[in-house]
């Protein structure tokens, strides 16, 4: 039994998965993670996953983008080489709005997505760490660390009770390296 690393409860329905989480938690069985083919609303609260701080990151990138955009315009148009173009002022603030705005949006989008990719270790060519290949298709998976939770039979019966179609005992953490 010690060779088993993870126990996977495979559900065909998201509501049964939620039920499974409730049942496991009521029995003090810790859940490693869940893998689903679509976002399940409310699952974070159940698993105690804290709200994402990405909006804060996005806001900071927005401030950075706006500042950089304005600095670019100020430096080029007003400081470095002010030019008399049709008698227009060297600091034409209304004319600065479009480019400052576009820079804000661009840096917000790129910065936020880069943060998302960095925090979730997403990048081109990364080996996918998948525990069950059907988790991106039609199965909703609850993964339980087999070493932390000793009573495997109880876990299986709880999962089955909640409606799991299949319970797997994986000796490897990820199946996708094969």
């Amino acid at each position: 039994m010690s060779k088993i690393k993870y126990i996977l409860g495979s559900f065909a329905d998201p509501d049964e998965l939620m039920d499974g989480i409730d049942k496991l938690q009521a029995n003090n069985i810790s859940i490693y993670d869940c893998f689903t083919p679509m976002p399940i609303h409310g699952i974070e609260a159940k698993l105690g996953v804290r709200p994402s701080r990405l909006p804060i990151a996005a806001f900071c990138f927005g401030l950075l983008g706006g500042t950089l955009g304005f600095c670019l315009l100020y430096y080029t148009m007003t400081y470095d080489w002010p030019m008399n173009i049709g008698g227009k002022p060297a600091l034409p603030l209304p004319n600065f709005v479009p480019v400052t705005f576009e820079c804000t949006i661009l840096i917000t989008a790129l910065g936020m997505v880069a943060t998302f990719f960095y925090r979730n270790h997403l990048f081109p060519g990364r080996a996918p760490r998948v525990m069950d290949l059907r988790a991106t298709d039609d199965r909703f998976i609850i993964a339980i660390d087999a070493n932390d939770n000793a009573d495997h039979e109880r876990i299986e019966s709880l999962l089955k009770e909640a409606g799991a179609v299949e319970v797997k005992y994986n000796e490897r953490k990820y199946v996708s390296y094969e």
Binding site: D33, C34, L54, F96, C103, F116
Partner: protein, 493 residues
């Protein structure tokens, strides 16, 4: 919870029997996982020939300079800018569907957003080529950006709307691409986990290692929401700035403050028409009738009707203001549009853009697939003429009558335009072949709330107001993907 019961008064967004999560994946990935059918090959060969024409025409332009076009010293902007604005406008519907409809929580966007966003990206690629081609010396295209240079540094003129446009279009393209690709990640992962061999390795690289864990999905949803939030003002700003290219000049017919909202409405109008043109064919050829339903078609037709009416009001306002301004040049510019040598372009525009979308007031027309398809093309023709009318008829009669001229396109003008349509369809067909044309994960979200199957179950369980059931049954009659059996199933109990 993923399965709150949605009111049966809302029309179903997914139809069909025995729809399971597995079936959604199978249906949508069918064109990606199998060899393309004959219809795809015919379309692809035709489109690729068009793209070839584009390469030849653009290559010829680069080789000889823009003297290859029919421009003259009076009409210095013609088909190139017309086509540019047309393509950028078409792109706008994709962002509108993916961003604005997400903010308004319109679930019907889930099955059309992916292809509409792809359309945005390809349309902006087509548009950008005109900008580069019109520069005359495309190898110096980077001069539009404020890069340090050897002229001491002589910076770009940030008072110019053309520079704003370069920033707006490149930001728009980048953000749209990022938004589209982020949304694609879970679906590419679905392809990856079902594939084998080389295909699996390629999709593995493209999937960025997506695994669908709780935290990934949570961040994914936040990222989508914020990208939607910032794309919404972005898309409005892009066509506003495109309209500034004209509105900030002092040419009668261009120098109007109505241009920004008028251009934005026109952009959404033409974009939805293009989405309609593409999706009506796509749903038929790829058998997506259960996912892109009559409800989607009707909703898009309603948007076309609303934005078409806004455009119509803008045309009339322009005429009124031209008269009310008391400026004789302004008045002449509009009199010349209506009854000058380009009267046929003006009236084509008026017929296609103002009158034809009004037909969508009739439910029969709104829910007829062939008529919708034809009208969507009519609208796109009309919107091309709108840009042609604004650009060429405002220029061709200058302040000095001795320099009045007409514009005649050369084969290169025509070649670039027809070719760009070919390029667009080539890219779109390649997209349908290699990437899921519908957002698989997002459609799965609808399965337990907004599918016909779920609603039928609700009705069969009883507890529904008979009047509402009657209403629901009547609303299903327009669906081409709902059989009489499906409707009959609602009558039990």
């Amino acid at each position: 919870m993923s399965s709150h019961n949605e009111s049966i008064l809302r029309e179903p967004l997914v139809t069909g029997k025995d729809i399971t999560y597995a079936k959604v994946t199978d249906d949508i990935l069918l064109p990606v996982e199998n060899k393309p059918n004959k219809a795809w090959w015919i379309g692809f060969i035709l489109a690729a020939l068009g793209a070839l024409l584009w390469v030849v025409s653009v290559g010829y332009t680069f080789w000889t300079g823009i003297g290859a076009w029919g421009l003259n010293k009076t009409v210095g902007w013609a088909w190139d800018i017309t086509d540019f604005v047309w393509w950028v406008g078409i792109g706008h519907a994709g962002t509108l569907i993916s961003a604005v409809l997400l903010l308004f929580r319109q679930n019907w966007r889930n099955s059309i957003n992916r292809s509409a966003e792809a359309m945005t990206i390809f349309a902006v690629i087509c548009a950008a080529t005109y900008v580069v081609a019109h520069m005359g010396r495309p190898w110096l295209a980077y001069w539009i950006f404020p890069l340090p240079n050897q002229f001491g540094s002589l910076w770009v003129n940030f008072n110019s709307p053309l520079v704003w446009d370069a920033f707006a279009i490149s930001t728009y393209f980048t953000v749209s691409l990022v938004f589209w690709y982020c949304g694609l990640l879970p679906d590419i992962a679905s392809v990856r986990d079902r594939a084998a061999g080389l295909k699996r390795r390629i999709y593995s690289i493209l999937s960025f290692g997506w695994n669908g864990s709780v935290k990934t999905w949570q961040r994914f949803e936040i990222v989508s929401l914020i990208l939607a939030g910032i794309s919404t003002p972005l898309v409005l700003s892009v066509h506003t700035i495109v309209s500034f290219d004209f509105a900030t000049s002092v040419i009668p017919g261009w120098h109007t403050t109505i241009f920004p909202p008028y251009f934005v409405a026109g952009a959404i109008f033409s974009g939805f028409a293009m989405v309609q043109t593409l999706l009506l064919v796509m749903r038929k050829v790829l058998n997506f009738e259960n996912y892109i339903t009559m409800f989607h078609i009707e909703s898009m037709n309603k948007i076309i009707m609303v934005t078409g009416s806004i455009v119509g009001i803008a045309y009339l306002t322009e005429l009124f203001i031209a008269w009310y301004s008391g400026s004789e040049y302004e008045m002449y510019a509009f009199a010349n549009r209506i009854a000058g040598p380009y009267w046929w372009a003006y009236w084509t525009m008026m017929t296609c853009n103002v009158i034809s979308p009004q037909l969508f007031w009739f439910k029969k027309i709104r829910t007829s697939i062939p008529i919708s398809w034809v009208l969507s093309i009519v609208v796109n023709i009309g919107m091309w003429f709108e840009r042609f009318v604004i650009i060429v008829t405002s220029l061709h009669r200058d302040y000095i009558p001795s320099s009045w001229a007409m514009f005649y396109p050369t084969w290169v003008d025509v070649g670039i335009f027809v070719g760009s349509i070919g390029l667009f369809f080539t890219l779109f067909l390649l997209f349908l072949r290699f990437l899921p044309g519908i957002a698989v994960a997002e459609v799965k979200l609808l399965l337990k709330s907004a599918s016909l199957q779920q609603k039928t179950k609700l009705v069969q369980e009883g507890h529904q107001d008979p009047e509402q059931v009657e209403f629901f049954r009547n609303s299903l009659t327009k669906y081409d993907s709902v059989t009489e059996q499906d409707i009959k199933a609602l009558e039990t109990k």
